[in-house]
Amino acid sequence: MEMNDKKVIMQGDKLAKVFGHGSGKVTAVEEVSFKFFEGEIASVIGESGSGKTTLAKILLGLLRPSSGNFSFRGKEVDMSSFKKRKAYWQDVQAIFQDPFSSFNQFYKVEKVLRDCLSLKGVKASRDENLGKMKEACRFVNMDFDELYNKYPFELSGGQMQRLMIARIFLLNPAFLIADEPTTMIDACSRSTVMDMLLKLKNDNNMAILFITHDIGLAYYISDTIYIMQHGRIIESGKAESIITGPRHPDTKKLLDDVPKLHESWGL
């Protein structure tokens, strides 16, 4: 990849993850290396079962890689104690695929947002906190006064995913992992969520790792694209160059499989 004057925020070196052993051994991620830059959106694209989510879990510290290592802001990530993990999670946060299971169902919306502020560790008055929570809700086009007393199950999928983004807005991490945030919500909310992610990048200079199987979404949102298959990265480069000139046959196939408006789909 060409040189970039931006600072590297997350770097992986030959990461691998193997599940099981013996004959039931599955290599989910195989020798994956990457460099994510500050204030950039990078996308990882692949079919189901290509190891995208496993990679996300490794980067979040939820899974231990079988081999290889990754560093955040130049330092190798240390997950050995809860304190260190908590410190890491102040800088690295995630939005998951399924909004229905991302929230604690016993917590009201207000508690969800208030917890973000306490995780940040900022001491502020009640009114200041309230103002911040209202601002976060405004950021995602929601009304705090309408929502604060509701439980997550009272919200629609799109609303939950937007609430998740409101959380991210409050936490303001340096690196966000968005693991297929738009697959479970409908097309209208999808474009809204995409726009909010772009806004986070532009306003807060957040680096985002966007994981998806839809190359169209990835192209719209990202600066850099990584194509994954069977746990390996088979092609990577600038979004523009991958869409206009895919080199690997499987990238071409991924691109062909997405229905387009102005070209025939070859059915």
Binding site: S156, G216, I243
Partner: protein, 334 residues
């Protein structure tokens, strides 16, 4: 002259909640489906698409209830038929349904061949197990599905394969009308293409007469549907041919839907996607006037006064208080 095989007139259905409230997700829907036609129904979540699909099956179980209207298949209103006859003669043969969730539609304790056996031995008397296997194997060959899948349990299959098998099960009796309720929403792009390919092949080879395809993915409808209906809050907002709706929508809601499409084409990066403000209305409350008025950019005071009639132009129908010229003028100004 095109032959209409499904004619729905002014269908009203409701959900009766535990607290005795009624919700009206299908509120006066009329549609006609011609032989060999693929009709797409588009709309966001919660607009009543899936309820419409269930209602069309004539198969009402609580909390869903039928209020009024008629569903006419070949000159027979299926809502006037006794339930036993409806089940025996219509469901599966005349009208079939593909459910949305591939992941949990199959009973995990049975082999795939068992589902086919259940259907075929019930609907075609004197069909033995060997015959069933022969029929199903032929069908699998035609659909290019692997034969070994027949002996698998559902948990041994991938999501895309499960969905394709559900499509095969739904269409094994060669229905005249197939209602596909978001058949690909849980799949990745490659499996989606395979499933769509299979559906279209079923129509092309004449196993399935016509199809109603329900989805929120407009790029899919672009390639699948002949005509598109845009639904919002229980009402049809606009009806037209595929190219009319996708490339030249009239109604402000269709316009907003179409402009939320993200496809990997040149120039998409420079577009910003304005979100539709607000949320769809609560269908518990009776709404007078246009249902989209609260979220519409072009709303006027008159929008909320009385029900908006359908306007017709050039074979298209749209439900808006403003006429086509005014709306096009407004779009042109932006």
């Amino acid at each position: 002259m095109e032959e209409t095989i499904l004619d729905v007139r002014d269908l009203h259905t409701c959900y009766r909640t535990r607290l005795g409230e009624t919700v009206h997700p299908v509120d006066g829907i009329s549609l006609a489906l011609n032989k060999g036609e693929v009709l797409g129904i588009a709309g966001e979540s919660g607009c009543g698409k899936s309820t419409l699909a269930l209602s069309l099956m004539g198969f009402y179980f609580p909390p869903l209830r039928f209020i009024s209207g008629s569903i006419i298949i070949e000159d027979t209103d299926i809502m006037t038929l006794p339930y036993v006859r409806l089940r025996k003669d219509y469901l599966g043969k005349k009208i079939a349904y593909i459910p949305q969730s591939a992941m949990n539609a199959l009973n995990p304790t049975g082999r795939v061949i068992g589902f086919f056996e259940d259907i075929l031995t019930e609907h075609r008397k004197n069909t033995g197990r060997k015959q069933v296997r022969r029929i199903v194997e032929e069908r699998f060959e035609m659909l290019r599905l692997p034969r070994r899948a027949l002996n698998c349990y559902p948990n041994e299959l991938s999501g895309g394969m499960k969905q394709r098998i559900i499509i095969a099960i739904s269409t094994i009796l060669d229905p005249d009308i197939l209602i596909a309720d978001e058949p690909t929403s849980a799949l990745d792009v490659s499996s989606q293409r395979a499933a769509i390919n299979m559906l279209l092949r079923l129509i092309k080879e004449g196993y399935v007469g016509s199809m109603i395809f329900i989805t929120h993915e407009l790029p899919l409808l672009r390639h699948v549907a002949d005509n598109i209906m845009v639904m919002y809050a229980g009402k049809i907002m606009e009806t037209g041919t595929m190219s009319d709706i996708i490339f030249n929508p009239i109604h402000p809601y269709s316009k907003a839907l179409v402009s939320s499409i993200i496809v990997p084409e040149k120039g998409i990066k420079s577009i910003s996607f304005p979100s539709i403000p607000g949320a769809p209305p609560n269908l518990k409350n009776r709404i007078t006037g246009c249902r989209f008025a609260d979220r519409c950019r072009y709303d006027t005071a008159d929008c909320r006064l009385s029900d908006i009639p359908d306007r017709e132009w050039n074979g298209r129908k749209y439900r808006c208080i403003l006429d086509r010229r005014t709306l096009e003028g407004e779009y042109g100004n932006e």
